[in-house]
């Protein structure tokens, strides 16, 4: 009888204490915000001295900061320092750079015809203050539909915006 009681205690105690332990562990370690990552993002303006404007790289939200990294350098800014974050849609030509100039040589308006091919993109604009109080801005061009998750995440981390993202309407049966 005594042995059975000890057995039940040995088996039951961990089961009873487990939720308490799990909860205390969660309280000690702050839950990391889910990271948002997007590759092949173009930094149009705002790389400062570290990154040249027009560079392509990876944009991500790590911890409480927005990071843009190319193969050579990385810039980051804390979400609470963001004064305004906004998203917009635009379009970009499919043929750009030197190839675009080459299309001008195509006879019978072929180059103009090729200009018809374009794709939609998202534009993410961030206004922020640096450590010394200076006003700065950065513009990123991402694939269509990719800017909103960044905005949502950064606003949740303390970035300010005058135009919050619209919540999707609940599905009605």
């Amino acid at each position: 009888m005594r042995a059975r009681g000890l057995f039940l205690l040995a088996v039951g105690a961990p089961l009873m204490l487990f939720p308490v332990l799990a909860r205390s562990q969660a309280a000690v370690t702050p839950q990391a915000a889910p990271s948002v990552v997007q590759t092949d993002v173009k930094l149009v303006i705002g790389g400062g001295e570290k990154i040249k404007n027009g560079s392509h790289g990876t944009l991500s939200v790590v911890g409480s900061s927005l990071q843009f990294a190319t193969g050579k350098a990385k810039v980051e800014l804390e979400a609470p320092s963001i004064l305004e974050i906004s998203t917009n849609e635009d379009s970009r030509q499919d043929i750009t750079g030197a190839a675009h100039f080459a299309t001008m040589a195509i006879p019978y308006g072929g180059g103009r015809f090729l200009s018809l091919f374009s794709h939609k993109v998202d534009v993410l604009t961030v206004e922020f203050r640096s450590v010394n109080g200076g006003y700065h801005g950065a513009i990123f061009v991402l694939a269509q539909g990719q800017a909103a998750p960044f905005k949502k995440q950064l606003v949740a981390l303390g970035a300010k915006t005058s135009a919050p993202l619209a919540e999707p309407a609940p599905a009605t049966k």
């Binding site: 149009v44 917009n88 018809l116 200076g134």
Partner: protein, 176 residues
């Protein structure tokens, strides 16, 4: 022969005197009162602070607002006119005594389309007109004029902000 020499001297000497007078008095004439002299303004501004663009009542996309600001910073820095180009809110600007301030206000904005521009050539241009207002440290107006930026044929819409900033930098270079 002697008569010819005397005649030549009598003609040339007033001209030489006049030239000497202009060379001596000219620079002094340039140093007039502090109010209307460009050279005096040139000497007094070693720093500029650029304020964010005021959109006024004109709807302008945020990326254009930001691009105008950053392009202005870049182009005015490139002129080499100022020892310091301060951003709005920069704490270090408080110590600058001879600083001018640049403010811009949107007058009009038309967002075009790169596709339309390149297909039709005559439509789809992006145009913007902004009022450029530069004041000295005492608040006296140095520049107050409207400047247009546009992209008419090739290039992305945001290139209009570059065009505008280049023109403002030229005005700053010529004025201050």
């Amino acid at each position: 022969m002697k008569r010819h020499t005397r005649a030549a001297v009598s003609v040339v000497s007033p001209i030489v005197l006049a030239c000497a007078l202009v060379l001596t008095v000219g620079p002094l004439w340039g140093q007039t009162g502090p109010g209307d002299s460009k050279s005096a303004q040139k000497l007094s501004a070693s720093a500029i602070q650029i304020e964010p663009m005021d959109p006024g009542d004109v709807p302008i996309p945020p990326e254009f607002r930001m691009a105008i600001y950053e392009d202005l910073i870049a182009q005015i820095t490139k002129t080499g006119k100022f020892q310091h180009v301060y951003r709005s809110g920069d704490h270090d600007a408080a110590s600058a005594s001879d600083m001018v301030t640049l403010r811009t206000t949107v007058r009009s904005f038309t967002k075009g389309s790169q596709k339309k521009r390149e297909v039709t050539t005559v439509t789809g241009s992006t145009k913007m007109t902004l009022n450029v207002h530069i004041t000295d440290h005492a608040g006296q107006t140095l520049v107050d004029r409207d400047v247009q930026g546009k992209v008419r044929f090739l290039g992305e819409n945001l290139r209009a902000t570059y065009d505008f900033s280049k023109k403002v930098a030229k005005i700053v270079q010529d004025t201050i």
